[in-house]
Each structure stands twice: as C-alpha cells, then as structure tokens.
Symmetry: C2
Subunit: 196 residues, 2 copies
Amino acid sequence: MTTPARRGRPGYDLESLLQVAVKLFNERGYDGTSMEDLSRKLGITKSAIYHHVPSKEELLRLSVDRALNGLFAVAAETESFEGKAIEKLEHLVRGSVLVLVDQLPFVTLLLRVRGNTKVERAALARRRDFDRLVTDLVKQAETEGDVRPDIDPAVTARLLYGMVNSLIEWYRPRRGSAGTELADAVCKIAFDGLRA
Amino acid sequence: MTTPARRGRPGYDLESLLQVAVKLFNERGYDGTSMEDLSRKLGITKSAIYHHVPSKEELLRLSVDRALNGLFAVAAETESFEGKAIEKLEHLVRGSVLVLVDQLPFVTLLLRVRGNTKVERAALARRRDFDRLVTDLVKQAETEGDVRPDIDPAVTARLLYGMVNSLIEWYRPRRGSAGTELADAVCKIAFDGLRA
DNA sequence: TTAACAACCGTCCATTCGGTCAGTAATCAG
DNA sequence: CTGATTACTGACCGAATGGACGGTTGTTAA
C-alpha cells in the first residue's frame, strides 16, 4: 500500500513537480531559471506546468512557506520548553539543523530570497521574526550568565545562525547519515569552539 | 589634489559605474537586475553603459575578481608566515573578515554566484581553491593538537568559513567602526565558543 | 462502456531582455 | 578656435520571457 492509487492520467502532480522545480531553482537561481528550462527538465511542455500552478512565483511561495513552517514549528516547540535559555537555544539550533537537513532544497531557496516581489518580501519578514526570536534567546542566556558577555548578543546570534544556515552551501544528504551527527558538530563548534 | 582632473566630458567612469552596478546586483540579485534597471539607477541610458563595459557579464567578472584577489592576497600573506597552523588559521580568518568588510559588495556578489556561465564557473573554481587552502590549514592544526579532533576537519573548516561568510548577510559598514572589532568577535566565537 | 478526472500539447502574445550603431555633447590642452 | 578625449543619446534588433487558451490523451471508478 505504498501507492494511494491516484485517479486520472499519470504524470506529475503538484508535489512531484515542486520537487523538480525547487531543485532546479537552487542550481541556477530562481531568476536564472526560466519556465522553459523547467519544462525541459520535467520532460513536459511549458504550458503543462501552468495546469499545476498558476504562476512561477507560486512555486517560490510554496517552497519558502514550507521551509518557514518547518522552522517555526521548531521555534514553537522550543518556546513550550522548561529550562534555562541556553538549553532552549541549543534545542532550537539542533531543531533548525534537522529541519535544514530534512527540507534542504526548500530552506536553501528561502535563504536566497532577495525581496524583489511581494512573495519574497513576505518571506523575508517571516525570516526576520525568526531571527528576532533567536536574538532574544541569546540575550536571555547572557543575562543568565551562560553566554559570554564580551560580545553583543545580536552579533552572537547572527554568527551562530550564520554558521547554521551556511550548511546549505555544502551539506548534501547521504543515505544512512542522520542529521543528528551534523547537529552535534554544529553545537560543539558553536558553543565550545573549534579549539582542542 | 583630491581630483586627478580627468579629461573629457564628465560623468561615470568604469569605476564609479561598477560601484553602482554591484550595489544593485546585491539588492536584487544579478539575474534579477536588468541593464535597464541599472541604467535607471545610474540616470543614464542603457546604451551609455555599453560605452564603459562590453557586456553585463563583464561587470560580474570585474566584481568577483576584485573579491577573489583580495582573499588570495590574504592567503598568500598567511602562507609566508612562520608559526603553528592554528596561528596561521586565525590570521587567515582575521584577514578574510577585513577583506570582507573592506570589499563588502564585491565579496557579497562573489558568494552568491551559482555557476550558470563561464565567468561564474571560473569564480567558483577559484573559491574552491581558497576553501581547500582553509581545509588544509585546519587539518594541519588538528595534527598539531590545536584543533578538536572529534570533528572532521573538513566540516570544521566549512562551519568556520560559513560563519565568516555569513557576515555579508547582515554586516553594514558604519562610520568609525573598524573591522578589527568584528574580526575579534568572529575569532572569539569560532575558536572558543559562545559559552561563558 | 462510459463518464469523470487529471495531465498534457501546440499555438499564440505582449513585454522584456541583452546588445548594436551612428551620431551628439561636454570638457580640456594647445 | 581647434582637435583630441571622453561620456552619452535614441532608435532599433532578434531572441527569450512569463503566461493564456482551447483542445487532446490516458487512467480509473461505476
């Protein structure tokens, strides 16, 4: 029962199309990918794409929303936690890395949005909300004495998530490799430094 | 003698034009910026741009080359150093941050290149050379016992420069703020961690 | 067998794209 | 004034872009 037995003519549905689209967008950039490029990659005509999705931008919206929903789910989980701020922070970082690994193509697209259109600006706004959440957590952890006080918490937060987000530049999922190991590595370096 | 007294009709020269172009490319993305967008921002016609530069791609080439030259200059300086690998590494990181701050728009553009054209692929190739240099340095520092051995040096190197490169996402130069303070912060967090 | 359903094709369109070219305008040295 | 030097304009081009639209093909449930 792996197949739910879809009705109608077989082919792409929105989900399978989105997978291909996001991958291509990440390879060539959203603006650098034309709908014809995409249609060629899919093996169908350009007009067939518009049966599944009303516009190119909608593909972008679906992708970035998926990434953002994943990140905010982790954030919500974190906030319902009991304990010190630094523990919450570590939980948030671990969760973020897991979302990033799990939804790699979508998060990748999200982190490259520039703000040229309404859709992109909305995504940037939600990203800023998330960043503020991280910064607040770092600030709190600092007042609790668990984060070094010699660096501006806002800077610390940005460096921390700069490191986390940079995973999209090189991490590629391999069969059997769990994201938890990667999360471990990130937390070790970020919290305790790379020195022996 | 601030003005070298240029001959001919006043207006943009290649350098001043490049400044505006790179800034706009960073705001909207290279592919997302048309030559007409650029001409509007410059206040001249599109064809006037082609008096200064033979193609759009040449603007990109000039920019990324400037960034890469800056980074490789620091790398060369680092290699001529005496001392332990971890000291070289810290010097390289500091130098990279300074180049990044100094040539922010150019480095920003470089770090967003996707590899769609020959120019972009050439830039990516030089970036890979630089990354390999960093990785080798981390490896050596690990065998010398100065970098934690519980994480793959390649991963450590990438997380380290992920943090460094993430500066382009939020750092904006302010009058009177030296890049050295920022380099300090980066080195503290990266080498010793954010924990108190 | 048939009707509903879902995916797809070919053609067309207005606009925008990067780029060309022949001529013009402003500055400075002599 | 003249001529060299440099910056710029306006009209234009072929190709590519995102998207519209009416019709077609293949699959499943009844």
